[in-house]
């Protein structure tokens, strides 16, 4: 297996290319810009299509176009850019298009700063744009997963005809780790049953999100909710560490889950029964497993996040407040410190 030392942002591009991504449309923003830069380097080397768009509105709509044609397309940005893309993401969800989006979160609100934060949780996990839609959200916590989850995102996007986010933070984008290159490369095929590719077989097709008739739109909305329910049933994914006998379980994703894992080791050394549940998907959220734990030995959950309790709220909903769900968090672009977790244990 061939390994390389690369940044998380580079791993995203490598994963996308092995996943058969044909087009990249993006706009610069720190700390996601390396995705754009690496795409500008590698896509043309493979005859694939790279374009620096005039804005995030344009880049998400270029994605809408390429995805409508059935091609594999993705873009990357950070909070302020994701805000600008929200209109397009709603249309993509409404038109059921497979688009992969990567959010390398920075600190907000507003212009904020370029340090790592997880403040886009609600925006990305809950929808962000208008209407009753959901994106599938994957949360890597290593450079290897930045690559692997990006590949997985393309599979899910096409399986469900739905936008899929890879939600990471500035730390994961900027850090380097060893990356084992993917063992297979996808040679994508156009799905002629729905795509509009400018070909005889796709000539009858229409990509749209407009349903003028109220009853039709209602029916379509229920169809979407049904799809989201199936996604919840089939795609929830998580890791557990030392949860078997734990009375306290940390819940953390992304870079916080790495810090929390070290905290679990330190707490265990001090004889405390602490475990970690790390969601690998944020939608769907591992609700059922959290409820199982709450019904078992766990007396307390602690949400460890770099946002203001945005994930804590989802844990509370998942365990229906059967036990306390506390919060350890840090904001503003500074990495959460392990001492904060230790102090809470």
């Amino acid at each position: 297996m061939a390994t390389k030392l690369v940044k998380g942002n580079t791993a995203v591009v490598i994963g996308a290319l092995y996943a058969g991504a044909d087009c990249y449309f993006g706009y610069p923003i720190t700390p996601a810009s390396e995705v754009l830069q690496e795409a500008s380097k590698y896509f043309p080397m493979l005859g694939r299509k790279f374009l620096q768009a005039e804005s995030e509105e344009a880049s998400i709509n270029m994605c809408y176009g390429a995805a409508s044609a059935g091609h594999r397309v993705f873009t990357a940005s950070s909070g302020p850019g994701i805000s600008l893309m929200s209109e397009g993401i709603s249309y993509i969800a409404g038109a059921q298009l497979p688009v992969v989006l990567v959010d390398i979160m920075r600190a907000g609100p507003g212009l904020g700063n370029i340090g790592p934060e997880q403040g886009d949780y609600n925006q990305v996990v809950k929808g962000g744009g208008h209407g009753n839609y959901k994106c599938i959200v994957l949360a890597p916590n290593s450079v290897q997963e930045m690559c692997d989850f990006t590949m997985k995102a393309f599979d899910l996007a096409f399986k469900w005809r739905n936008p899929v986010f890879v939600l990471a933070d500035g730390t994961l984008g900027q850090m380097m780790e060893s990356l084992t290159l993917p063992e297979k490369a996808i040679e994508p095929k156009i799905d002629t049953s729905w795509a509009v590719a400018g070909t005889p077989e796709t000539r009858p097709n229409l990509v749209t999100s407009i349903f003028l008739d109220f009853d039709q739109l209602e029916k379509f909305n229920y169809f979407l909710q049904d799809k989201y329910a199936k996604i919840e049933a089939e795609e929830a994914s998580w890791d557990e560490y030392q949860t078997e006998d734990a009375d306290t379980v940390l819940v953390a994703y992304g870079i916080c889950s790495r810090i929390a894992r070290t905290a679990v080791d330190m707490a265990r050394e001090a004889g405390k029964k602490v475990g970690l549940l790390r969601p690998k998907t944020l939608f769907p959220f591992p609700k059922a497993r959290l409820m199982e734990l709450a019904n078992g030995k766990v007396k307390r959950f602690i949400s460890v996040e770099m946002s203001n309790g945005q994930m804590q709220a989802d844990i509370k909903l998942a365990v229906e407040c059967k036990c306390p769900v506390d919060l350890v968090y840090r904001l503003g672009g500074n990495l959460l410190h392990i001492d904060q977790i230790m102090a809470a244990l």
Binding site: G47, A53, A95, L181, G198, R258
Partner: protein, 470 residues
């Protein structure tokens, strides 16, 4: 609701997507230019045999339902974004792409996308219906509303002092270099319709030949919102509107050649070649179980802090260690201090952020003072001897390295960073074998292989120095 399209080509025979009873009538109002334009584009699509290779973009506005009619692939898109969507379709497929837009969509909310797509010379045909008002939303002022013209949002007539002047899209686009064809036409009477027909066919021929961007502005009557009869509105377009928006061809660059786009390569062979799979490290399965080694490197931006960290990480990777490298990123990059954390491990790495390093490499005094008390008991601090007298925390071994002096002595004055790297290699604190450091050196100078031997020599020189000084 009564304009009937009879014997048209390029359009569906009836319009089931529209629903309702009148399945052969369009949704456009009587006297509206959209019906005529739809028919002209459909006829050109058919005659040029483009229906199997064309994608038509329906905008937001009165033409939002263009997909009811055109017998080709159809995509409906957000307000103003048609040129961006068209760009995506065109880049992905290299087929014929048509963007059909009104004045609010194209010249107001979508002005940026319009100009940028034109400026890039995208291979798209834009048909721009200018009727001076927002039709679908009920007759509000458009960027193209004439001075003095009354609409529901400028009830006293457009006043340039508060609402500016009409926007001339053909003329704006004509300032750009890339567009191939630009013409303004009208749909007010048979003679004008025939000229419009010619322009539309010309634009689509250029698309068929893949030559680039075409823009046809179509002055069109909106009797409903202008609150005039069909005859009066057409007369108004001919006599008043064309004074503001003169008809004619602004550009016809028939000499343009086809814009050729490359074919995508999805093969694993090509990918492995691009990412140097053959040249990458084979990850050695390590049966060793060693404690994590954590290294912090800090100094001024420009002192090679991040690259020294990268070399240590690369050394670890080359002998099968799990490694992580985390930089302080951001404003530090543009001056000031910089640091990075490197972890070398034989099992999964937890936090990539280091709180208690085993080894601190300090390239300047502020970095030394900032981090020296974090170093683990029994740990090591390597610092540049240029700092002079330094007080070490209890239980920490300090090594002052005259990096520049040693580099000079070894005849390699640019090698101060390699000196530091050599000292780290000699110390053994990283628990990496000698070969790891040589691998990293070779990797670091892969693009200038002639520098590898001199730097290897420097590594040996520093090793000897370290035997007596460290």
């Amino acid at each position: 609701m009564s304009e009937k399209i009879i014997e048209s080509t390029g359009l569906y025979k009836s319009f089931p997507r529209k629903g309702g009873a009148a399945q052969t009538a369009t949704h456009y109002c009587p006297g509206c230019g959209h019906g005529v334009l739809t028919k002209l584009i459909g006829e050109a699509l058919h005659d040029l045999e483009l229906q199997d290779k064309a994608v038509l973009i329906s905008p937001v506005g009165c033409a939002v339902f263009a997909y009811y009619y055109f017998d080709c692939g159809n995509i409906q898109v957000p307000h103003g974004r048609a040129p961006a969507v068209a760009t995506g379709v065109s880049r992905a497929t290299d087929k014929v792409v048509i963007s059909y837009q009104g004045d609010g969509d194209l010249a107001s909310i979508g002005l940026n996308e319009t100009l940028q797509a034109a400026n890039r010379g995208e291979k798209i045909a834009v048909f721009f219906v200018n009727n001076t008002v927002y039709g679908m939303t009920g007759g509000q002022m458009a960027p193209t509303t004439l001075v003095g013209e009354k609409t529901v949002t400028c009830p006293n007539g457009r006043d340039p002092m508060t609402q500016g002047y009409p926007v001339h899209m053909c003329e704006l686009i004509n300032n750009l270099k890339a567009p191939v064809y630009i013409e303004r036409v009208a749909l007010t009477d048979p003679a004008h319709v025939m000229q419009a027909r010619k322009a539309i066919r010309k634009a689509l021929e250029i698309q068929k030949e893949g030559k680039g961007y075409t823009f046809v502005e179509v002055l069109s009557a909106c009797p409903t919102n202008l609150k005039m009869s069909t005859t009066e509105t057409n007369k108004w377009v001919n006599e008043v509107m064309t004074k503001e928006y003169p008809l004619g061809k602004l550009r016809d660059n028939t000499e343009a050649t086809e814009v050729v786009r490359p074919a995508s390569d999805f093969s694993k062979e090509a990918l492995d070649k691009v990412f140097g799979a053959a040249k990458s490290e084979e990850k050695a399965a390590s049966s060793e179980d060693l404690p994590d080694v954590q290294v912090k490197i800090a100094g001024f931006g420009g002192q090679g802090v991040l690259s020294l960290g990268t070399m240590i990480a690369q050394a670890g990777l080359s002998v099968g260690r799990n490694v992580s490298w985390y930089p302080s990123y951001g404003p530090e990059q543009r001056g000031g201090t910089s640091n990075c954390s490197v972890t070398l491990a034989t099992h999964a790495i937890g936090s990539p952020v280091i709180y208690r390093p085993d080894l601190l490499v300090a390239m300047n005094r502020p970095s030394l003072e900032k981090f020296k008390n974090d170093v683990k008991p029994g740990g090591v601090i390597v610092y540049d001897a240029i700092m002079g007298e330094v007080e070490m925390p209890a239980g920490i071994k300090g090594i002052a390295v005259p990096a520049q002096q040693l580099a000079d002595e070894a005849g390699n004055p640019k090698g101060a960073n390699t000196v530091m790297f050599g000292v780290i290699a000699a110390l053994g604190v990283t628990r990496l074998p000698d070969v790891a450091f040589r691998n990293a050196l070779a990797n670091s100078f892969a693009k200038k292989p002639q520098l590898i031997p001199v730097n290897e020599k420097l590594l040996d020189f520093v090793r000897d120095w370290a035997k007596t000084h460290a």
